[in-house]
Symmetry: C2
Subunit: 207 residues, 2 copies
Amino acid sequence: MLADRSQLLAAAERAIVSIGTDVTMDQIAAEAAVTKPILYRTIGDRDAVIDAMSDVLVDRIVDAVASSRSIGTAPRDMFVAAVSAYLSAVGQHRDLYLFVNAAGQRMGPLRRRIDRSARTIIDLFEAAGGGLGKTTSPLTWSHSIIGALQIVTLMWIESYDTEGDRPRRTADDIADDFTHLLWPGVEAILAVEAVEPAAHSGERADH
Amino acid sequence: MLADRSQLLAAAERAIVSIGTDVTMDQIAAEAAVTKPILYRTIGDRDAVIDAMSDVLVDRIVDAVASSRSIGTAPRDMFVAAVSAYLSAVGQHRDLYLFVNAAGQRMGPLRRRIDRSARTIIDLFEAAGGGLGKTTSPLTWSHSIIGALQIVTLMWIESYDTEGDRPRRTADDIADDFTHLLWPGVEAILAVEAVEPAAHSGERADH
DNA sequence: GTCTGAAGTTACTCGGAGTAAATAAATCTC
DNA sequence: GAGATTTATTTACTCCGAGTAACTTCAGAC
């Protein structure tokens, strides 16, 4: 078998879906019809698999969020739509998400995942609000948003198990609540940025 | 050796501090001058240890946050103070926090930790804003806050490693940024709750 | 044919979680 | 107080998964 990287990753995903978050490296290799050393040479150790699956997942989520952006919508509605799209995307890759979450809290993969997500969110901020990213504040903000989304998503997705096989609440519903909490702060930040585009390198506004 | 529960937990903490997040059950038992089966009988398996340490940690954080509440302060300032106290408390129990985080992402312990933290936050909301907790929204809100705090804290604490042995930013600094993002939403929610104390059991306000 | 190197597979090592069987201690019985 | 029975404790395992070393097989070169 040729076993190039992408085929192995596809097999890994199948294995994760069919077996669950505690798939073993042997099981992944077996699903790829390949032996373990090949898996190790082609992709790497477990952390590498996690990193790779994390990338796959984040790609899909970013795509889903990006294609939820419709022009001419009010910023707040865009925000809701983005969150909802995020949730739906994760819901469609439930096992993958649970795998990355359960397995990927070793500091290495976790850091990597967070950094990548943070970059994406800061980019969004910059696209919406102008020149952010000069101070360290945006890092804290993006970490906050990532963390909030992560736990909300995890708890939502988990309710698949405890309830029937449908989520008890819709993605839109959750996105709505989420936005109620997060949007006012985001809006305030964007407003400040828009008005004083150079004010963020020194002092912060009130204090 | 008597080896009651609290002694074992104290030993576990010492082991975590001296060895790190990947302490082994044998090492914990050794630190307690006790053999493994005793550890297993007294506390339980690894998840039980994680649960227990998680409880210890959450207790300390809750205490720290509680004792940061000074009367007569503006709500927003109380919020900042609480977040700052949270961060400082975690900073003082860095290894414990990292242990609970690294080890406790197995769905069992994680859920438990989140549920407990969520309860605490919802209680705070209720104390501040009146009768919350009738709809599911407060769950989403508290999950958001927990998640945001978690990642922000984790990234902050991690910077101990990459920088010197002092955190690059102060807890107050981070708390300030965090508040900029989160407070407006929290304030809005509290305001709505204060004005229409019975409005949350059915429809939400705008939509 | 056979030598050489890549590609792959078998068959291990290593380490940690969790436990069963063996041993020591303690309590009860007369 | 000696023997019997139950309870606490330790030793010594099993099991399983990550990661790897050493062996095998097949391609082409000559």
